[in-house]
C-alpha cells in the first residue's frame, strides 16, 4: 500500500515537473540542443508526447485487442487533414473545425472497421492497409485542390487563434500536447480496464472462446477499432497544431509501419510501454538526424557515416534487435529489472 502511495506521489511530482517545464531555463547538455524552455526543445517534446499518445492508440487495437491493423496512419492523417482543410480551405473557426473533425474521426473508423473486421488475421491486415493506401492516394492526388498533394497544406497565420501562433507561444502548444497525452492515457486506461476492455484482451487471447461464452466478438472489436481510430485523430489534431501544417508523409504505409515500430519498441500490451516507445522513437528520429550533421560524424569514413546519418536505418536495426532478443520491448526490460 505504501509503495502504491509512493508511486502516486512520484507520478504527481513528475506530472507537475512536466507541466512547469516551459518555465525551466535549464540546459541539459547532450540530451537537448537548447535550454528546456527554448521553443525548439518544447516543440520536440510536444511532438514526442503526441507520438506517445498515437502509439498508445495503436496499442489499444494491436496490443490489447490483437488486431494487426496496417491502416492506423489513416485515422491519424484524418485528424490532421480534416482539421487542416476545415481551417485553411473552408475558413471555419478552430472550434467548428474540431467539431467537423470529431464527426469524421468517429464515422470513418466505424464504417471502415465494420468492413475490415469481416475478415481476420492477415486478410484483415491487408484490407486495412488497402484502405489506408486509398486514403494516401487521395491525399497525394490533391482532389479539388483540398489537400495540397505532395506539397502538403500549411496553416496560414490567420486561421488559428493568436495564442497558438508564433515561436513565443510554443509553450501553449506544448501544454496542448501534454493535455492530449494525459487525456488519451486516461481514456485508454479507463477503456482497457472497463468490462469491454477485458473482453478485448479475451479476444486477443482466444476469440473463439469469447464467442462460445455468448459474447459477440465483432461488436467488441469494432468498438476497439473505432475508439482507437478516434483517439488517433485527436493526436493528429495536436500534431497539426505543433507542426503548423499537414504533410502527406504521415498518410503513407511506411508511417503505419513506423507506428508498429514505436509500439513494439516500448512493449506491446502495456499502455505506458507504448507511450515510452512513441516518445523514444520520435526523440531518436529527431536527434539522430541532428547528430548526423554533427562534425564528429561528418569526418568518419563513408562506410560508417552513411548508415549513421539515416535515422530510419538506425531505428530499423534497433527494432530488429529488439524483436530478436527483447520481444517484450523496453517496457519488458524495465519490468524485468523491477521484478529482480
Amino acid at each position: 500500500m505504501n509503495r502504491k502511495r509512493g508511486a502516486v506521489a512520484a507520478g504527481a511530482v513528475g506530472a507537475l515537473a512536466v507541466m512547469l517545464l516551459p518555465f525551466a531555463h535549464v540546459t541539459i547538455p547532450g540530451l537537448f540542443e537548447g535550454p528546456l524552455d527554448s521553443p525548439g526543445t518544447l516543440n520536440l517534446l510536444g511532438l514526442c508526447f503526441v507520438f506517445g499518445a498515437l502509439a498508445l492508440t495503436y496499442d489499444i487495437v494491436f496490443g490489447f485487442t490483437g488486431l494487426l491493423s496496417f491502416g492506423h496512419a489513416l485515422y491519424f492523417a484524418a485528424g490532421v487533414y480534416v482539421t487542416a482543410i476545415a481551417l485553411a480551405r473552408w475558413h471555419l473557426t478552430l472550434a467548428e473545425a474540431l467539431g467537423v473533425t470529431a464527426v469524421v474521426a468517429f464515422v470513418l473508423p466505424l464504417v471502415l472497421g465494420a468492413i475490415c473486421l469481416r475478415v481476420r488475421d492477415i486478410p484483415f491486415a491487408m484490407v486495412t492497409l488497402a484502405f489506408a493506401e486509398a486514403g494516401s492516394i487521395l491525399v497525394f492526388q490533391n482532389p479539388f485542390g483540398l489537400t495540397g498533394g505532395e506539397e502538403g497544406l500549411a496553416l496560414g497565420s490567420d486561421v488559428l487563434p493568436a495564442a497558438l501562433i508564433g515561436v513565443s507561444n510554443t509553450a501553449h502548444l506544448y501544454w496542448i500536447a501534454v493535455a492530449l497525452l494525459a487525456s488519451t492515457y486516461a481514456i485508454g486506461w479507463w477503456a482497457v480496464h472497463s468490462p469491454p476492455g477485458r473482453v478485448w484482451q479475451g479476444i486477443r487471447e482466444n476469440e473463439r472462446r469469447v464467442a462460445v461464452l455468448g459474447l459477440n466478438p465483432y461488436a467488441y472489436k469494432l468498438a476497439s477499432f473505432t475508439l482507437s481510430g478516434f483517439l488517433a485523430a485527436g493526436a493528429g489534431v495536436a500534431y497539426l497544431l505543433l507542426q503548423g501544417g499537414a504533410n502527406p508523409q504521415i498518410t503513407t504505409a511506411n508511417f503505419t509501419l513506423v507506428l508498429l515500430v514505436m509500439v513494439v519498441l516500448g512493449g506491446v500490451g502495456t499502455l505506458w510501454g507504448a507511450v515510452i516507445g512513441g516518445i523514444v522513437y520520435e526523440y531518436l528520429d529527431f536527434r539522430l538526424l541532428e547528430l548526423s550533421n554533427a562534425s564528429g560524424i561528418a569526418n568518419l569514413p563513408p562506410v560508417i557515416r552513411v548508415p549513421l546519418s539515416e535515422p530510419l536505418f538506425v531505428l530499423g536495426v534497433l527494432f530488429i534487435v529488439l524483436v530478436l532478443f527483447l520481444p517484450q520491448g523496453l517496457g519488458g526490460l524495465v519490468r524485468r529489472a523491477s521484478i529482480r
Binding site: 492477415i122 486478410p123 491487408m126 488497402a130 484502405f131 493506401e133 486509398a134 552513411v306 530478436l324
Partner: protein, 294 residues
C-alpha cells in the same frame, strides 16, 4: 484503337512485374505463414545490384550490360533472401508475429540505407537500342521492353509451375502449403523447403527489380515499396498461396490500373484496385483461386 492496344500491352507488362514480386510473397506466405514485408527491399537492392553490374561492363556492348544486370539482380535478390531467412526468420520460427515484425524492420532499415548510400534521385539504366525501339502491333507503337518483361514473366510462371508440379521439392512445397505439420510428421525436412521458397521468391523479386528498371528505364529507392503494396493486393486478390491466382490477379490489377489511370483521372486506377481488393475479400475471403476461406 492504338491507344487501347498500347494501354493493354503496357498494363500486361505492369501485371508481369506485379506477378514476379507477388509469386514469391505468395509462396512464402503459403508455406511459412510469413508475411514478408522485406520483399520490396529485395526488389530495390537487386535493382541497384543490377544497375552497378550493368554499368561495370564495357559501354560498347549494351546487350552484355543488360544480361549482366539481369543476372546480378537475380542473384542478389536470391542471396539477400537466403540471408534473411537464415539470420532473421529462422530464429523466430516459434513466434509468427515476430517474423512479420522483423521483416518490417528489415524493410525500413534497408530502404533508409539505400537512400543514404545512393541518394533518392532516379538513375538511368543502360538499355540496348533494340529494346528501346518500338514494334507496331495493330497499329500501335509499343516499346520492346514491354514484350521482354511479359515474356520473361511468362517464362518464370511456366518454370514455377513445372517446379511445383513435376519435381520432388515442388511436391514437398505444395504439400507444405496444404499441411505443414503433416509434412514434417512424415520425416521430411521442411526447414530446407523454407529456405528454398525464400531463395525462389528472392530471385523472382530480384529479376523483377531489373525488369522494373528495364520497363521504366530508371531505378530509384522507393519503387520497391510501391511494388510491395501492389503485390500484396495481387496476392490477396489471387488467393494466398496460389501461383495461378497471383498470375491472374496480377493481370487484372495491372490492366485495371493502366486503363482507369488513362481514361478516368490519374490515380483512379490505384483507387479502383483497392476497392477491388475490398470487394474480393468480403465476397470471397480466400481470394479468387485461394483455398476456401481463411
Amino acid at each position: 484503337m492504338n491507344t487501347f492496344v498500347l494501354l493493354f500491352v503496357t498494363g500486361l507488362g505492369l501485371g508481369a512485374l506485379y506477378f514476379l514480386v507477388a509469386a514469391g510473397l505468395s509462396l512464402i506466405w503459403g508455406l511459412m505463414r510469413v508475411l514478408n514485408f522485406a520483399h520490396g527491399a529485395f526488389f530495390t537492392v537487386a535493382s541497384y545490384a543490377g544497375y552497378y553490374a550493368a554499368t561495370a561492363m564495357p559501354e560498347g556492348s549494351p546487350w552484355l550490360q543488360w544480361f549482366a544486370g539481369l543476372a546480378a539482380a537475380t542473384i542478389a535478390g536470391g542471396v539477400f533472401a537466403i540471408l534473411t531467412e537464415i539470420f532473421l526468420i529462422r530464429p523466430l520460427y516459434s513466434r509468427p508475429l515476430g517474423q512479420i515484425l522483423v521483416t518490417v524492420g528489415l524493410a525500413i532499415s534497408t530502404l533508409a540505407l539505400v537512400e543514404g548510400a545512393f541518394g533518392s534521385d532516379p538513375r538511368q539504366v543502360p538499355l540496348p537500342d533494340q529494346m528501346i525501339a518500338t514494334t507496331k502491333l495493330f497499329g500501335a507503337a509499343i516499346p520492346n521492353t514491354r514484350f521482354v518483361v511479359i515474356v520473361l514473366a511468362i517464362a518464370v510462371l511456366a518454370a514455377l509451375l513445372l517446379f511445383l508440379h513435376r519435381t520432388r521439392y515442388g511436391l514437398i512445397v505444395r504439400a507444405g502449403v496444404e499441411n505443414r505439420a503433416m509434412v514434417s510428421a512424415l520425416g521430411i525436412d521442411v526447414g530446407r523447403a523454407f529456405m528454398l521458397v525464400f531463395a525462389i521468391g528472392g530471385m523472382a523479386a530480384g529479376l523483377a527489380g531489373f525488369l522494373g528498371a528495364t520497363y521504366y528505364g530508371t531505378i530509384d529507392p522507393s519503387r520497391g515499396t510501391a511494388m510491395l503494396i501492389s503485390a500484396f493486393i495481387v496476392v490477396v486478390i489471387g488467393g494466398l498461396g496460389s501461383i495461378g491466382g497471383s498470375a491472374l490477379a496480377a493481370v487484372i490489377v495491372g490492366l485495371l490500373q493502366q486503363f482507369l489511370n488513362f481514361y478516368a483521372a490519374a490515380g483512379t486506377g490505384d483507387f479502383a484496385v483497392v476497392l477491388l481488393l475490398a470487394v474480393v475479400l468480403l465476397t470471397r475471403p480466400g481470394g479468387l483461386l485461394g483455398e476456401g476461406s481463411t
